[in-house]
């Protein structure tokens, strides 16, 4: 009795708490890593005073933001103003429930799964839930009753909606091969195929990655927050803890995007060459570690891209989506469907 209670109730609750905290912990790592790496790219030092190499800097920042005065200026639509940071952060954390953070681990007689929820349409759900953050952005921009946030919000929504289309198409090519939208099945099919889909479908991956960088509002596509034009975009009027929510949500979204890239294109929790017998010793390392290593690579790629490329102009950004990425992804789908059904 007590055993089944533990299996049915306590372990899922612990898992939910861990999966809820995981993106937030990654956010803290990312804040530090981004400031340090961008600083090194720009021949600066970055934060290096608090703790070893400045590793405690995000904690200090967080404490500062939590205790800052929370300013709500006049003319604000209070309901929408207060709910939008929550919507943005909540949507990116919720999507983590469907991401497998590792394989199944056997402890005694109990099989510990490294995911909270398994759904036959997990992939669609992740795309759908992460698109809820659009509401937070646009409500936040509109309710601030100020020019720059409104313009930033409008830009942001146009950008997110445009780049969702190539993401969906590139993900569709994965479904052609895995024949499933279940995230766990997709990883297992990559194990059976013996090759990660990223190497099998490089065009899909490139389209996916460019669109995902744009969807997370990251440089070089950070037009909604272009400080030279729009101060800080949709969160200009936010301060204190609500600003911290938006800030954390941006990084949580990046972690989500990297996790999607890893699970869909680079084998999730699988070690490299999962079927080669000579490399079977790699299976000793738990799947979660492989997953973590892989998403760290993609998170580093985000920072690297930010430090390297100049910002796009807004019309260039929209043109890139509608005139290049969407036709290219359609053509890609066509070719893959042709190969899949006749070859």
């Amino acid at each position: 009795m007590s055993n089944s209670l533990a299996a049915d109730l306590i372990i899922p609750i612990i898992k939910i708490i861990i999966v809820g905290l995981f993106p937030l912990i990654m956010v803290m790592v990312m804040v530090w890593l981004e400031r340090r790496v961008v600083a090194f790219i720009q021949l600066r030092l970055g934060p290096n005073r608090v703790g070893f190499q400045g590793i405690l800097q995000p904690i200090v920042d967080a404490i500062k933001l939590f205790f800052k005065e929370d300013i709500t200026h006049t003319g604000v639509d209070k309901v929408l103003f207060n709910i939008s940071p929550v919507l943005v952060l909540f949507s990116s954390i919720l999507a983590f429930c469907f991401i497998p953070l590792g394989g199944t681990m056997q402890i005694g007689t109990y099989n510990l799964n490294f995911w909270v929820a398994e759904s036959p349409v997990g992939l669609l759900l992740i795309i759908g839930i992460s698109s809820i953050s659009v509401f937070g952005v646009i409500f936040g921009g509109w309710s601030s009753n100020s020019k720059y946030p409104l313009l930033g919000a409008l830009r942001s929504v146009v950008q997110i909606l445009s780049y969702e289309i190539p993401v969906a198409f590139s993900v569709l090519s994965i479904i052609f091969f895995s024949q499933s939208m279940n995230m766990i099945d997709i990883v297992n099919r990559q194990k059976d195929a013996g090759i990660w889909y990223g190497f099998m479908l490089p065009v899909s991956f490139v389209i996916f990655w460019i669109s995902v960088v744009a969807e997370t509002n990251r440089a070089p596509f950070d037009l909604p927050e272009a400080e030279s034009e729009l101060v800080a975009g949709f969160h200009t009027e936010y301060s204190g803890i609500k600003f911290a929510y938006f800030y954390m949500a941006e990084y949580a979204h990046m972690v989500l995007a990297s996790s999607l890239a890893v699970v869909l294109f680079f084998g999730g929790w699988l070690p490299p060459f999962p079927n080669v017998a000579a490399l079977s010793f790699l299976h000793v390392i738990p799947g979660f570690v492989w997953y973590l290593l892989k998403i760290m690579f993609f998170l580093y790629l985000f920072i690297w891209i930010r430090g390297t490329f100049p910002r796009y102009r807004f019309d260039e950004l929209v043109r890139l989506a509608w005139k290049w990425l969407i036709p290219l992804s359609l053509l890609n789908i066509l070719v893959i469907a042709f190969v899949r059904s006749f070859a």
């Binding site: 309901v79 349409v121 759900l125 759908g128 839930i129 409008l154 929504v157």
Partner: protein
């Protein structure tokens, strides 16, 4: 347990639906509309229609409600305009919900008589079965719907296109 979750989402969707029509500010109505759509998708999940729930989130929450927000921002709709409609549209507006309510009660009545089996619905809502049905049994309605959507797309482009006065072509 599943029943409790179902009731939770059902009550939530009704409350948010009532809040949509009682709000003075159209933007708040849209917020509650989004909540309502999400709680309806929660209902679909408790009925094991995962695909419908996901599509509900993507199409309605991610697409249509965002479109409403855009329209409200662009036409700067701050307060509700008082109703000034002719008799026939008014009649239409009241008649459609009435027909729907009658339909719902009829379905209830039928279900109470025959009893319902949720597993049949869950089986037909599996994505493989759904796609097979769409491309075999219902291929003609499916294609007709897509042609209709294309016609709407082209029509909206024609309406929205700017007429250039000094068009040399």
């Amino acid at each position: 347990m599943a029943m409790m979750i179902f009731i939770f989402f059902a009550v939530l969707s009704v409350i948010t639906a009532v809040l949509i029509i009682t709000q003075k500010n159209p933007m708040h109505s849209v917020l509650y509309l989004a909540f309502s759509v999400l709680s309806v998708s929660g209902l679909f999940f408790t009925l094991q229609a995962d695909f419908l729930g996901a599509i509900q989130i993507i199409v309605y929450a991610g697409g249509i409600v965002v479109l409403y927000v855009f329209v409200i921002i662009i036409i700067n709709l701050n307060q509700l305009v008082p109703e000034k409609r002719k008799l026939f549209p008014r009649f239409f507006i009241t008649a459609v919900p009435l027909v729907l309510i009658i339909e719902i009660f009829y379905v209830f009545y039928k279900k109470i008589k025959t009893g319902s089996d949720i597993s049949i619905v869950a089986e037909s809502m599996k994505i493989e079965n759904l796609s097979k049905m769409l491309l075999t049994d219902y291929v003609i309605p499916f294609e007709v719907a897509s042609v209709l959507l294309l016609a709407v797309l082209i029509g909206s482009l024609v309406i929205a296109r700017k007429e250039l006065k000094n068009d040399t072509k």
